[in-house]
């Protein structure tokens, strides 16, 4: 308990709490020598102001909250990893929560964090979310919101994303260059922007190479897991449509599909070339290994936090930020499945 506090330092140095506090917060109106004495002493005893007490005056808690839609997920994981790496070195501490792709939980979590007076919330919107009032509430409380990965265009805040449309274009183009002309696409639901953008990237590639689009080749996979991939592949085969390529929006979908193909003596990549998305660790250990799009999760995590810092300092200066959408580059990793 007995942690050193401002008054202890004031007493030890025969100064007032005011002066100590001024030094701590970088106020200019302190004598250079006094400042040095205080700084030296503070370093010696390792003092840091109690953020809970400071908050009462400053309304800053030096905490931020990261909300992930899923936890056991390589991409979200690497975002967390990247963010922690740099945020741990700052004075900020990090709350983490998981919406589990639930709108209700997402709303609750945001309200909880606002009650905790976090300085910022970093959010990838849940799959279920259709209403965005809870995001507006963040701004109403004067807090900073940074959206990442699954964003909502109509909300005015910084957004950090992968250039999904381009990444998907490249992935599909790769299949075309391998000779595929009848390319299946296992896409996500209709709503999330990433799902739309990846679909558009696929369309872009077909267009560029004058390959006719056939909507029969599109399959919706809400959960983007192995099971969905397996059953989408099954549906594709049973539909009677022919195919020689597959571009999916997740590695797990690709894995599920490959499992189905194997079972039905359809060879990968001989009969069908497959490209996944996300470069999950397991995609390099499957048989065959999976061609996929590497998303820079670590970098995204770093960018989110840095963007928050920039946003905060702009806000303090009363400036309006520009260029609020940051698109990170991705990379196609070619492996055995294509």
């Amino acid at each position: 308990m007995g942690r050193t506090k401002l008054s202890d330092i004031a007493k030890a140095l025969e100064l007032s709490k005011t002066t100590i506090s001024k030094v701590l917060n970088g106020y200019p109106d302190v004598n250079a020598l006094t400042r040095k004495r205080v700084l030296d002493y503070i370093k010696e005893v390792g003092f840091e102001a109690n953020t809970q007490a400071s908050f009462l005056r400053t309304k800053e808690t030096k905490t931020v909250a990261l909300i992930l839609p899923q936890i056991s997920h390589d991409f979200f994981n690497s975002i967390l990893e990247g963010m922690l790496k740099i945020a741990q070195q700052t004075e900020y501490t990090f709350y983490v929560a998981c919406s589990n792709e639930s709108y209700e939980l997402e709303t609750k979590l945001i309200s909880k964090f606002l009650k905790r007076n976090v300085d910022a919330i970093f959010l990838s919107i849940s799959r279920e979310t259709r209403n965005f009032d809870h995001l507006r509430a963040i701004h109403e409380e004067g807090k900073i919101l940074v959206l990442y990965d699954k964003i909502e265009k109509t909300i005015d805040c910084p957004k950090i994303i992968i250039d999904d449309r381009k990444a998907s274009f490249t992935a599909t183009e790769h299949l075309i260059k391998k000779g595929c002309r009848k390319i299946l696409h296992f896409r996500g639901g209709f709503l999330p922007q990433i799902s739309i953008d990846r679909y558009l990237g696929y369309r872009d590639a077909l267009d560029k190479y004058d390959i006719p689009f056939d909507k029969e080749r599109i399959f919706i996979c809400e959960n983007a897991n192995e099971k969905d991939g397996f059953f989408a592949a099954k549906k594709a085969l049973e539909s009677g449509i022919d195919f020689d390529g597959l571009f999916t929006i997740s590695d797990l979908l690709a894995i599920g599909a490959i499992q189905f193909f194997k079972k039905n003596k359809i060879q990968v990549p001989e009969d069908i070339s497959v490209v996944g998305f996300s470069n999950w660790k397991l995609s390099s250990f499957t048989y065959p290994t999976i061609t996929t799009v590497d998303q820079p999760g670590n970098l995204m995590g770093e960018k989110i936090f840095q963007t928050f810092l920039t946003e905060k300092s702009l806000k303090k200066q009363g400036l309006d930020p520009e260029n609020r959408e940051i698109k990170l580059p991705s990379k196609l990793i070619i492996r055995e499945s294509s």
Copy 2:
């Protein structure tokens, strides 16, 4: 920001802040009718006390911190997942940090969290850590420490672990029952308790079936990743010792070893049966799929948090807790590699 506060409620209800606060904190000396009025009003406006302000009096922040040694790691991930699932439903909020297996960072993080006045710290000790004064500091500050997975026996606090020795016994016994008599063991470093216990479980199984122990069959893999597995297998082969089984302390080690064996025309499981540890998601997608020990990460996450709650309430009542080591059961998952 105009969030409702105690004084607003007091004014609206024509009561004193004292009374409102008493209702909020469950004090008995409040008239039942008054209590009801307050409670109803609080529910209506959705009031919750500002924890930062409360802290100044109560010294409780209603925050806990989870320190993970690694982030991109299925097991630690599932611990985080399990813990969040239940903790999110409580009034607590969750700090997360990653020591990255570094003693220095671990020390810094703990000191940072103590300065933030967290109510508890949940820690799996880093691989590098040899000194435990920073853990004692947690107790000196009157905070609760719960160790999990990588624990230190000499620290007096609740510890949540897997029954590693038994799990390893079962895994090794499985190999023996499959006919293996010359079983390699890729172990972790000398220090972490889990590494010792898994080694002992391996020895137990040999003993039970009267199989002579040969220390030439033990290989130390500090990092427990694919690379270490690959090179340990290489060393084993080059050493000239013969083998027909392999028990490793991680799935990645098993994968690396299998890659080496494949390269050298050693068939798995025909020539050598392999068992991993942890049941990482990828272990069921490799070729061959890997027999492994499933560790209940989600359950461990829940138990850690529940243990904290128990510990806290015992402490409040001034009671000393007993039975401070909780061993969770694990399960052998048999797949193609054995």
